[in-house]
């Protein structure tokens, strides 16, 4: 019987294993899916069970991304691990101007079922070049599915869907989520894209968050509950497709919106959710929308400076309190 609770990393590896077992055209380009942290040994199972379907590529992100895309066009289902999310910038044209556009520009004739995986986020000591969250930039590139699991259960179900998708999919794992533990459903199955998950119900304010920020939002909500404020935490789980209906319905109930995002502020995920609600849910709003995002700076190595610019539970709670001030 599969475990009833699991770490995020273990759930991700389970999904990879199940996908490799189910479809012999699935393979892994890049083997350090869990980075270099303590969970990395969980990948040994994949390596020993599917030695011919996992390969260590050269440090050549553009080349391996293109290889994954071309392979997908030719009928394979590769899972390309790009390592730290910043390295995806070396494969940018491949992701946003090859994978994203091929189906469209062939009038629907060519499918590109490739999955890109990367470890995103402010990870502690990553400094300016290793702390990125490219999901906002990717959302401005139509044609990519964008997936951001925030719990072990979602990591399992969404990874399965990513590997079954006929579209290019970017699966972003926050480096700080790998080690968290969480409950797993008794029946393990794929989670369809485009269905937001209300991670906590509440009547007073809607907090929309993704990836690690969902965990921080839940922590903030617990604190706020002690102050009599009931926050609803909505996790879109996939940005593309986006479940606008669930977000709008929540704001309709609560009348207030805080959006949390680890991308830099300008043109980030928080901005997009805020703009969507300002446009389509304007009449529900009883207060200004609040964005809690990374400050518009690179990340410093010094820990206190890293923390100063990055959202956390305290900053989220403070933003909510401003609405009830």
């Amino acid at each position: 019987m599969p475990p009833t609770t699991q770490s995020f990393a273990a759930a991700l590896v389970d999904a990879l294993h199940d996908a490799l077992s189910a479809d012999r055209m699935v393979s892994l380009i890049g083997s350090h899916v869990l980075g270099l942290g303590p969970q990395r040994h969980l990948m040994d199972r994949i390596r020993s069970d599917f030695p011919d379907r996992i390969v260590d590529p050269p440090t050549a992100e553009a080349g391996i991304a293109a290889a994954g895309i071309g392979a997908a066009m030719a009928g394979a289902h590769p899972f390309v691990d790009l390592g730290t999310a910043a390295f995806s910038f070396l494969a940018w044209t491949q992701m946003v101007n090859e994978a994203a556009v091929a189906h469209y520009m062939t009038g629907g004739a060519v499918n590109v079922p490739v999955t890109f995986h990367m470890l995103h986020g402010v990870r502690g000591g990553g400094a300016a070049q290793h702390s990125h969250s490219p999901q906002a930039m990717l959302w401005n590139a139509p044609g990519l599915e964008i997936v951001l699991p925030s719990t072990p259960a979602d990591a399992y179900g969404l990874t399965l869907s990513a590997l079954a998708s006929r579209n290019p999919t970017v699966l972003l794992t926050h480096a700080k989520l790998l080690g968290i533990e969480g409950p797993m459903p008794s029946e393990r199955k794929a989670i369809p894209f485009g269905k937001a998950d209300i991670k906590r119900q509440g009547r007073d304010v809607t907090i929309v968050a993704t990836s690690l920020m969902v965990q921080y939002a839940l922590a903030a909500a617990a604190t706020l509950a002690g102050e009599g404020i009931e926050a609803e935490v909505v996790d879109p789980r996939t940005l593309v497709p986006l479940d606008e209906a669930t977000i709008l319905a929540s704001v309709e109930r609560t009348g207030r919106l805080v959006v949390v995002d680890e991308c830099p502020l300008r043109c980030g995920i928080a901005s997009e959710i805020a703009a969507t609600v300002a446009e389509r849910g304007f009449r529900f709003l009883r207060a200004p929308i609040q964005r809690v995002a990374r400050a518009d700076t690179p990340i410093a190595f010094a820990q206190a400076q890293e923390e100063f610019v990055t959202p956390d539970a305290g900053k989220i709670a403070a933003a909510v309190r401003r609405l009830f001030g």
Partner: protein, 340 residues
């Protein structure tokens, strides 16, 4: 011609090359008549390379091509009417008018999506080879790209990956820059590479590489067949550099059909060649070169050449009608096909 082609192959290549040539002549005409706008790239002068290389492929093989793709798509057997319709952005085009000349391809014939980003084609082809190897059915992927692609770093990464993983990829570099190498001060340089010999690049990562005369169908066919055979038996990738003379109508901006509509009598009779572009007609035009070789068979051969050409011209006339009769795609359909 360095080696002899089997006669039947030579005739079938001539047929393909004539269709390629008549196709491009139609493209120029339609562009000049204003039937489509934007930049386009003709394959004139490179027909022997594409025809001979693609003739070595089997049904399950994949191809990746680039901005200069018309000839490749035709040589692989795409319907010229639908290809032309695509260039005109019509709904009955190969891609429903979505791709146009820059992204022309025929996915049903094994083409990957055509990238017009320099370096795109060579890098995607490595993935094609990866899938072929995974299928394990002896198929391969052929990349057809210009010399300029080797200025992009991703081309180097692609060569390294293909070599490391012994992928079945035939890298066919169509080098049309031999006389335009280096920085043409004040003009448009066509190849900015410090390498004196492009083959040294694949060779630096251990890929066997050979340079051939790209206007010599037999030489191309030989070199590509050898590389393909190695691919199919697990020997890893091969690289062929096909050198072609730049067609005098090549222009980095818009092609200029200065050599006119191809007159096969320049090959089949001893009609005087025009003074202007004499060298081109005499030595470089690959269609005339192959026709001349076949015409050496005598009067019957000459007649056969003209008969094939007449047939291809009729085919192109129908293709033009088909393309021009095509409807424009519906504007609202622009929202379709973002995702499968």
């Amino acid at each position: 011609m360095s080696h002899a082609l089997p006669e039947s192959l030579a005739w079938s290549l001539l047929e393909t090359m004539l269709l390629m040539r008549r196709f491009e002549e139609a493209v120029v005409r339609l562009a000049q008549e204003g039937h489509f706008k934007g930049h386009y790239h003709l394959y004139i002068g490179e027909e022997a390379t594409g025809a001979a290389a693609i003739a070595t492929l089997g049904e399950r093989d994949h191809l990746a091509t680039t901005h200069r793709n018309h000839g490749h798509v035709i040589a692989r057997g795409a319907d010229p009417g639908r290809a032309l319709a695509e260039i005109l952005g019509r709904a009955n085009g190969l891609l429903g008018g979505r791709g146009g000349t820059l992204h022309l391809s025929d996915p049903a014939l094994g083409f990957l999506a055509t990238s017009a980003i320099v370096g795109g084609c060579i890098s995607l082809s490595v993935g094609g080879g990866y899938a072929c190897k995974q299928r394990g059915d002896g198929s391969l992927t052929m990349a057809l790209f210009g010399d300029g692609a080797l200025e992009e770093g991703v081309a180097f990464e692609a060569l390294n990956i293909a070599a490391l993983w012994k992928l079945p990829v035939v890298f066919l570099c169509e080098n049309n820059s031999v006389n335009a190498w280096g920085s043409a001060k004040g003009g448009f340089p066509t190849l900015n590479h410090a390498a004196k010999d492009l083959c040294s690049i694949p060779q630096s990562v251990g890929i066997p590489a050979v340079r051939v005369d790209g206007a010599d169908a037999a030489a191309v066919h030989d070199a590509v067949s050898e590389a393909a055979a190695r691919c199919r038996t697990g020997g890893g990738p091969g690289f062929v550099e096909a050198i072609t003379e730049r067609w005098p109508g090549s222009n980095p901006l818009w092609p200029d059909p200065v050599t006119g509509v191809t007159d096969l009598r320049m090959a089949t009779t001893d009609m005087a060649l025009p003074q202007e572009h004499h060298n081109w007609f005499r030595h470089h035009d690959p269609v005339l070169r192959l026709a001349r070789l076949l015409a050496a068979g005598g009067k019957d051969s000459a007649d056969r050449i003209h008969a094939i050409d007449a047939q291809q011209q009729r085919r192109m006339a129908k293709a033009i009608d088909f393309a021009l009769a095509g409807a424009m795609p519906a504007a609202e359909a622009a929202l379709d096909h973002v995702f499968a």
